[in-house]
Amino acid sequence: MLGRTLREVSTALKQGHITPTELCQKCLSLIKKTKFLNAYITVSEEVALKQAEESEKRYKKGHSLGDLDGIPVAVKDNFSTSSIETTCASNMLKGYVPPYNATVVQKLLDKGAVLMGKTNLDEFAMGSGSTDGVFGPVKNPWSYSKQYREKRKQKAHGENEDSNWLITGGSSGGSAAAVAAFTCFAALGSDTGGSTRNPAAHCGVVGFKPSYGLVSRHGLIPLVNSMDVPGILTRCVDDAAIVLGMLAGHDPKDSTTIQDPVKPFTLPTFADVNKLCIGIPKEYLAPELSSEVRSFWSKAANLFESEGAKVIEVSLPHTSYSIVCYHVLCTSEVASNMARFDGLEYGHRCDINVSTEAMYAATRREGFNDVVRGRILSGNFFLLKENYENYFIKAQKVRRLIANDFVNVFNSGVDVLLTPTTLSEAVPYLEFIKEDNRTRSAQDDIFTQAVNMAGLPAVSVPVALSNQGLPIGLQFIGRAFCDQQLLKIAKWFEKQVQFPVIQLQELMDDCSSDFEIEKLSSVSLKQ
């Protein structure tokens, strides 16, 4: 049952094949079994069981609230959840209990979703590995998959199985791992530079970033106000569309949400592939791109072409500067957003009480890790009077050029862009930590952050397994506010590639029938 899609489980609940309480308990027990993944910071067991009970009552009366009623979900720990600790994986907010729910959390709860817990992340969502939070790194469930282990046995013998575990990618690694390990059916992440799509690609799940302004950011502890969006992680594109339908729409509490009316939608089967125009940005053919990812990218392009779509090479000329521009804007906004953490009204407070400045300084030293402090200092540097014009304003100008690049490409008739999501498959933690956070982020965000600067919707879809048995994802980028169209195309593509289900048999003694590899029926991109 846990391996089913959200839609399938929802149907099962409506038909009474399983009750919300049973489902909730199965997920809770699986969360306990997979505790070593460190995907969850807080497991809200009591709350979840209570919500499941209420959902069950509704189903018994025939008054279900819809497709999400009774469905276990998880939320990244930088979304405020009323009465549930929200830490952002930082000492600064350890023990902080918000008095309100983020709008997106409230919407999920209003539709009857069952909140399993808060997932782990990089501290304050800064990072691309989910390795820098105070609760420790998140382990990629694929490290323990049959597919990966079998490939490893062929290479290394007698190695300690757990010492070389893989990262999930970040910063919504906990959410991605929670979904990939079947402990919930959907999870919320946040996406500022790729933080939802990156771990989605590494964990073999769907990571969707909505258009900026479509989904409310109220209650999402902000990193970069002009780029943050809540992200959705699910096991298939259809599920992401269901969740988006519940979350999208104007929020009076977030004035950056657009006021256009939004209605929930079901994704129709996409039949007009031959009318599509797919753009392949040539600047995304980075030298660091792994040959396997490049090969899958090329095969995907060929797949569209073979179905009659027009596939053309396009140019986004300022691509090489986008990561630099992102770096300046991100650190500058971070410097501003982190200023609210002074220990006075909430969060950690140090013991020094001699003066406000000494108190603020010590509180912030104790509360933030090196990564956060580094970004605050960089941001403050770029915002100094003597640097403001040359760095911050300059970066804002470059941002317009980057956004215009996308506008020009879409105006030339391209419907959707197809790019890699990451440079390679997930790497082992021991290798990942050899470089510092800023270097890694600059490397790993290369395909994803330009989308945030332009505010466009994008989705990472798992495509196939690498030679090592690890997931590789590809990214589709759509026009602003054409999220539905984007998901339609992604759903079609997903059906073509038939990405295999992760085999975690050692953990699932009682549900082995759910986790068999699905037979590859149509065209597949397996090497």
Partner: protein, 159 residues
């Protein structure tokens, strides 16, 4: 009446003097002096040969503005790298290009009508603070900045 007032003001002054002595004593105990000393010593350790955008002056200025300390030479090196990285933007021709603040710049920002619809949650909000007195958040005094401490003589600090 006047004797009462003068007595009470004398008491107040006494209390203030005692408070100041306690504060300085605590400052010493908490190693604040060492923190100030460390900061001074740290900046003077800054490598004079570093290609220096990040001079000792800049370090001090940034720490003061951000109220976050560098903590180590590594952090300074990381900032230097971050600046060098950002310098790549100079190669882009942005003549005649307007800065972009938001991707939604073509739309009108939504503004609610100015009516009170929620509030009265002082108690809830105060619960998250560590130091609270009635409905006030308690902050330490603001005049005792490091600059002040620096000016004081060592003998006073040793109280």
């Amino acid at each position: 009446m006047s004797s009462l007032l003068s007595a009470s003001s004398a008491l107040r002054e006494d209390a203030l003097r005692r408070l100041k002595r306690e504060m300085w004593a605590r400052a010493v105990k908490l190693g604040l002096r060492s923190w100030v000393g460390w900061r001074r010593g740290f900046t003077s350790k800054a490598d004079p040969q570093r290609s220096g955008r990040v001079t000792a002056e800049v370090i001090e200025h940034l720490e003061r503005l951000a109220l976050v300390d560098f903590g180590s030479q590594e952090a300074v090196a990381r900032l230097e790298k971050a600046i060098a990285f950002a310098d790549r933007l100079r190669a882009v021709d942005t003549d005649g290009v307007e800065p972009m603040e938001s991707v939604l710049e073509d739309r009108c920002l939504y503004l609610r009508s100015d009516n009170v619809v929620e509030g009265n949650c002082a108690e809830e909000l105060l619960q998250n603070a560590h130091r609270v007195v009635e409905e006030y958040f308690v902050a330490p005094p603001g005049m005792c900045s490091p600059k002040w401490l620096n000016r004081l003589s060592l003998s006073e600090l040793r109280i």
